[in-house]
Amino acid sequence: MRNIIKLSLTLALVGIISAALLTAMHNVTDPIIVERREADYREALESFFPGFEEFESDELDEGQFDLIYDQDGELMGIMATVIAMGYDGEIRFNLAVDETGEIIGVRVVAHTETPGIGDVIERDSFKEQFIGKSHEDPITASEDVDIISGSTVSTVAMINSIRQTTEVIAQNYLGVEVVEVDLAEVPDGTYQGTAQGFIGPIVVEVEMAGGEIVNIEVLEQEETVTYFVEAYPLIPERIIEEQSLDVDTQTGATASAEAIVNAVENALLEALGEDVEEPVEEEPVEPEPVDVDLNEVPDGTYEGSAEGFMGPIVVEVEVAGGEIVSIEVLDHEETPEYFREANPLIPERIMEEQHFDIDTQTGATASAEGILNAVLNALSGAIDNDGGGEDN
């Protein structure tokens, strides 16, 4: 017991002496560190805003924004300190923007990108391409600025962050009005909108009904799947739940999440801008095809598909003289042991009965119904196509 106390006390003593030493050291070095950081920052400010007099700091969610003033107290521009998520961690950088919103310069403060690959973001040739651009420019990879191949993630992260920062600055400090979407004013219908995601454009389809967003679907995107799942369907769900575009986009894929929000916003803005815009034609998706009158089906061979147990089942149906003469399964993804129970039994039953009210209770009912629905789809398609032909 005595021994343990002695040991503890010795260790505690060592710790206390260590702490005291470090505190003393901290007091010596900390002012120097802070001063040095400030000097570096001032030097950068001087290079972007020659002859500036003072600056005023403002903190937003997006980062720190310093408003730079000259001797007469006139706003010279804004220096933003923001963080972009690069390939290997945070890229902290400064973005200097003049009083009209045009980019004066980009300065990478700290990053942990791979040496020789991701550190190209520090290259002047990369940074200088942003100069002169503003919130009115797309600032989009491969559109008006270039990524550096081999360092796509690092450079795209910078580009996206710079675009967002110019927008934040324009809206918060330069009095650029944000176009707010009033959901109540959007007429019912389905609208499409596009916005730049992390890698490529994201196309969404927004369905409006009674002044509310009822459905958001992503039609096209090129994002990395493992990241995109963090944003979709979460973000559409949040938008629909809150009936607002001002949702939290902090996810594992913030860039994709923000792009979805922007795409929805664009879709609705376009809807408001042109009230007469025709809603996008709805794709006819009939889950349960209606019964088909075989006498209406012209002779011929038709293809149709329907969902089986594991995936789509594609069939080819041959009709002659108002009768089905052959049914062949062209493609399926079912488990062979089970599918055997449904094919060729179901095609045989259909041909025998010459109607579709057949018994699908087999060892593979889901596959059996898949075949039946595929045949129905093939024949209903045949009738629709034929009808269209007559109209012409």
Partner: protein
């Protein structure tokens, strides 16, 4: 008393014959991590040497007061103290180096080279011999870092004394395409392997 040349022996042992990197293969993590540029490698070496000397001094001074049961935690606290002092000093006086070395500075704490020397040597020897040994081991480590960084910077960047473009000496003409592989971790392993092979041949040849 100890004969005089015992100090010389303690000092030189770590340089070649018992070089912590080339012979004992200790401290691989910072060795591979920060040797992209000569400046970084050298800076890391000096930082580690300072911690090594400080640790050796204090541990040797306290060797009769630290109970053996808690010697390891005590050593680690002592090492950590010196590492933090070095870290803060770098931040204040060599910010560029500090940013470049990044997490590897705090990680000096767990460099087994330091704890190994303190445990095996300083905790049982008088102060002067311990410090001599600390200097030797530290310089040996620095030597290895400098050699590896030299190979990697020349091949991987084509410069010397980088990475600042203004200060760096560009060794080759404009058409030189650096072997980026050597700037990356895989290149560090390859360069280290070649270096180890070279040192082994050298030591065999001269019977060290």
């Amino acid at each position: 008393m100890e004969p005089k040349n015992v100090y010389i022996q303690d000092l030189t042992r770590g340089l070649v014959k018992e070089n912590p990197v080339f012979v004992a293969l200790l401290g691989m993590c910072p060795l591979l991590g920060v040797t992209g540029f000569l400046f970084y490698g050298f800076g890391m070496g000096v930082a580690t040497t300072l911690v090594m000397i400080g640790g050796a001094l204090i541990v040797s001074l306290l060797r009769n007061y630290i109970p053996p049961q808690i010697r390891i935690p005590c050593f680690i606290v002592i090492i950590a103290t010196f590492v933090t002092i070095v870290d803060m000093s770098l931040q204040a006086f060599q910010p560029a180096l500090h940013d470049a070395l990044g997490v590897f500075v705090p990680l000096i704490v767990c460099n087994c080279l330091i704890l190994g020397r303190l445990e095996a040597f300083s905790s049982k020897r008088p102060v002067l011999r311990s410090v001599a040994d600390g200097v030797g081991a530290g310089l040996g480590f620095t030597l290895a870092l400098v050699l590896l960084a030299l190979v990697r910077e020349v091949l991987g960047q084509g410069t010397l004394l980088g990475p600042e473009p203004e200060g760096a000496i560009v060794l080759f003409g404009e058409n030189f395409e650096p072997m980026t592989l050597f700037a990356q971790p895989a290149g560090a392993f390859i360069a280290l392997g070649l270096l180890l092979a070279g040192v082994n041949i050298f030591m065999k040849r001269f019977n060290i």
